[in-house]
Symmetry: none
Subunit: 359 residues, 4 copies
């Protein structure tokens, strides 16, 4: 079989930690281009991985008919335009999460996917996580009984990324803790619960702890160092309550808060059993049998979810299989996030019951 020729657009953290190593480990793939508007980052990738050509302008990739597939690892603000350009240029696309800054942008991406028929997967990598899939199976097999509520908590004491940079600039990122972390948590909930249609969303998003940038105390900063000349206009705390056709969901999330206990979990409450998933770690199942309360921890072989995401993307290009990370499944999460921000601005609940709500 001839190798699938791919290009990586955006050569920052997520490209280097996840996409590129997974492409390199896939024997059916050849990386032809590393692209970054900061050309030295593209050149470093060429040198580090010993393959490909460094380019600054992604239009080089659009014009090369050999390139079948593209990973988009740029900041969020150009996800939509690059993804759309790539699909129109006959490329299959794997775009990092979130799909885009806004629901509207995500809808445009979906529209072009439908028009062109090219693959458009979003980097909701937890859908390839072993533990998450075991939970999904447990829920689907009825082990939890009726799943009536989900408690989502992604609250960190101090974890604002790159203060003053792309992550904390709304025009670039589209939002803060909700769009960056919440997208993963809501996606896991939707995936495990069988993608239930959302009905109402009420939320509040706050920009509090980072806004006084020089006085933001912290121990470590990922995607740092801070740029005190930059801007900070995104949410560092978010709260929401969502009703769906399945369970209701409550969300409390913080990149930073003045509570020193990190709580990163999802509680799936069923009337027969419940599960607490520690994000990125193990889960615990709580049930009852023969009058006893059972607490069960599960051990299973850890998989490399990024590798499965990439391998599935490449295999799907050829087989036509639609993955759970397809834009058609992810679009609902984009709508929910949009609704949380809208509800926060308007101080009232948003109904998603009407067709085309928020579109």
């Amino acid at each position: 079989m001839t190798k699938t020729i791919v290009a990586v657009i955006g050569c920052g953290t997520i490209a280097n930690s996840a996409h590129i190593p997974a492409y390199v480990a896939n024997k059916d793939v050849e990386i032809k281009y590393f692209c970054d508007i900061r050309k030295e980052r593209a050149e470093q990738a060429v040198e580090k991985y010993g393959c490909g050509t460094a380019v600054e302008d992604y239009r080089v990739i659009l014009d090369d008919p050999e390139v079948m597939a593209v990973s988009i690892c740029t900041p969020n603000n150009v996800h939509a335009s690059i993804a759309i350009d790539c699909m129109r240029a006959d490329k299959h696309v794997l775009c990092e999460k979130p799909a885009a800054r806004t629901y509207k942008e995500a809808l445009e991406m979906q529209k072009v996917q439908h028009e062109t028929g090219k693959t458009l997967n979003i980097g909701v990598v937890n859908r390839f996580n072993k533990g998450v899939n075991i939970i999904k199976q447990m829920i689907e097999s009825g082990e939890l009984g009726e799943l009536y509520h989900v408690v989502v908590s992604f609250r960190a004491h101090r974890s604002i990324p790159g203060l003053g940079g792309d992550f904390t600039t709304k025009a670039v990122a589209g939002g803060g803790a909700l769009i960056d972390w919440g997208v993963h948590f809501l996606d896991i909930v939707m995936y495990c619960a069988g993608d239930p249609k959302p009905k109402t969303v009420s939320g509040q998003a706050y920009s509090k702890l980072g806004k006084d940038m020089p006085n933001y105390a912290y121990l470590n900063m990922w995607a740092g160092p801070p740029n005190y000349e930059g801007s900070y206009d995104v949410d560092d705390f978010v709260t929401a309550m969502i009703r769906t056709e399945g369970p209701s969901i409550t969300v409390n999330g913080a990149w930073a808060q003045n509570i020193g206990v990190d709580e990163m979990y999802i509680d799936f409450l069923g009337d027969k059993a419940g599960i607490r998933l520690q994000y990125g770690k193990e889960f615990t199942l709580y049930s009852a049998q023969h009058g006893a309360l059972l607490e069960s921890t599960a051990k299973y072989p850890q998989n490399n979810a990024f590798q499965e995401e990439i391998d599935g993307f490449i295999a799907g290009i050829h087989s036509g299989e639609k993955l759970p990370s397809h834009i058609d499944t992810v679009i609902v999460t984009a709508q929910m996030i949009e609704a949380i921000y809208r509800s926060s601005e308007e101080g009232r609940e948003i109904s998603l019951l009407e067709a085309g709500a928020l579109a």
Copy 2:
């Protein structure tokens, strides 16, 4: 000074564990009547405390002009009628929480209080808790900066009281976990946050784990034993999001849930500092100074909040001082609880902005 003559109506758990011992310990008080429709409980109290007369019908008390003050420790369904009768019969009233089964009943109580001018305090005993008052002072003095959100969690693994009895029968109790536990948690939030006016309420209440009574697994049961012939039609899980003129509030509460981690706390999130109060226990203050993150625990002399509640009630009768447990402050919590139940039934957010909402 002549002693204040009091009567205790309802001689169950809360009367015996809190009200009666506190009256006995107050040297200015004489208990004249113990009243209970199950007369043997009244008689046991007479025998146990060595004072008073046992009566079955509270109208004996209404007719006795010597009685100045009454504690109402009955099930919730007769709170309103007895309190109103007592005030109209010229008695001061301390009524256990919740004020009543519904907001409407509570409003009637308040109306009669205003008409008669008699004291009507509700048993929101945490307002007399030392730690809660320290937190209130910290918030009011600005140590937390802007209090923008409060996370309320009163989630127990297995703690349904008296399955099949008064607590789990809506016609008697008015509700379940929310009206029984939530009333305390919301009251602490309102008290500490300066009683901010609520604006919107969205909630869902579920009756799940207790409804299949014979198969409800548990380790201990307070107010038990279970009565499998009785009824179970109240909430054992509740979730809500509330916007106020001050902080937003999210609530997750459970008498029972299939998550085996008890979480009983209130997180006060300020932009300068935050506090986690472990319900009924200590609190921790999280702040930042000189670039360092500080975690502070507070030690203080523990007080007997029930004693202060009772002593304050008796003293207030004579001084005319209005306590923080007055019906006028508690009425808003009753409105919020009503709004959560209403929102749950209607599947949409309830606005409390208009005057007289839900009245």
Copy 3:
């Protein structure tokens, strides 16, 4: 209903910690006699429990037609003779474990039970333990798959009881660690595994750590203090391998050993799941689902197994219900213990396949 009149023969530790309190708590029972050859112990019981008459000679009880039921809490050497006398005198009998010193004595007790038709239960109290019964249900419902082996470990660092007393004198107790502790462990295995017929037994019993009495080092001694003038001729370590029609069983037990790690557990190995029961404590279930290994701990309301044993004994007298502690179920454990001692003496495996083996 008239009360059931009972007598307690032997007023030592087990009578005072278990039998007598349970009779006192049973409203349908009246204790008429406390009997002990050391009469002061009988008299102390009369005084402590405020009922009954103290007697020295149990024949007083035999002669009193009012006495319906007897608890035998004496040393092992008179279990058989007193139980037999009582049944012949028309009394129902609850005899402490072990049934007797030897299989032969136990068979004689069983024979008289069959002749007289009186109840003869043995104090295998774990059959009334909640956790043990949950395990039995799990095994019977097939949750463990095929139960193929059981590992029994009752190994203590230092726990020889009453060095030099009844417990360590073979003529009185019939044996040591095996007959005193092993009887409980084997009984739990037999009960949970559905009382499978034993086929072969190989064992070795050692009398090592206590035999040099003055130099036996220990931290605490139950049923003490030591009597250095007494005798020590029983096993303090025992090992055995047993084949049954169900699982095979290995046993390692020690009242005392020079390994400082107490290990008191039973491992039930099934091909689908397994259970480790910590003796007298909780159990853990190990299974696999959806490719994950699950470790489950069970919480359940702790019951008072002694109370259920006594209540069941009394109720069974009137209802005729045969309890799982009946001599007919316990007799097999007596046979297995006899076989272990015999195998140890003869240095070879004992077959129990022939009818009447060891009888």
Copy 4:
């Protein structure tokens, strides 16, 4: 001194992790041949270690008179035939454990050793472990008093090697957990206890957790990955009770079991002191002195047991010294293992008292 010329037959895991590096580190040795029926493995060794010639057929080695010594690191099924061929071809042999698949094969190897006088050592590497030798000295010097019983436990939750491969195929390996792991544990016991003659053996071996290969849940697999097309007909759990002229021994071993606690230890029970050896790790000594119970851990320089095994083998060739790993000491363990399997098949104890038992 001229170098000793050696050949390594079988270039799999144990050759690469132990034998070859030890030969390379021995300055008196030159490796002339790497032999493997999968020739690429032999070639990889040539490349990796930069010496020797790769051959596919070990008869090349037999025919080369320069080769003085051979390591046999093949699967168990060809241990005997290759070892015999080598000795007859005038080579000294170090054969990996177990000596062979069966006692009969091992006896043939021993017979040829006696006939030829060539060295035949077996890879019972623990006999060169520093801690094991300290324990042996303690026992021999009487510090433990009489060693009356040994508890052997090699129980893993999930550790079946190469499911469906050589390890789990009886025709190749001769057995499973017992022959692969048990051989090491029994060998340590025999070595430390002074190689006491076994008298009776009763055992049961079970093939349970691996037999439904596709549903065997595990976290890691050594000698993997699984071959679901292969066969699984060996023991994954074994239990045994052995009487010797010295201590009795009980064995419980599992490559896999539904108990999630790994227990890999040997308890040496003496009447003065006892030792728990954590396999491959430290040991603890439990004793009593002056009425106190002592728990002692030992620290000592860790040695490389494989290096000592190889160095001793080479030195012994020249000195004629008989090592503790000589076939004459190991043959008894082979007999015991054979007896356990035989006892399991026949459901009865096997006596080894008669001369030539099982031969």
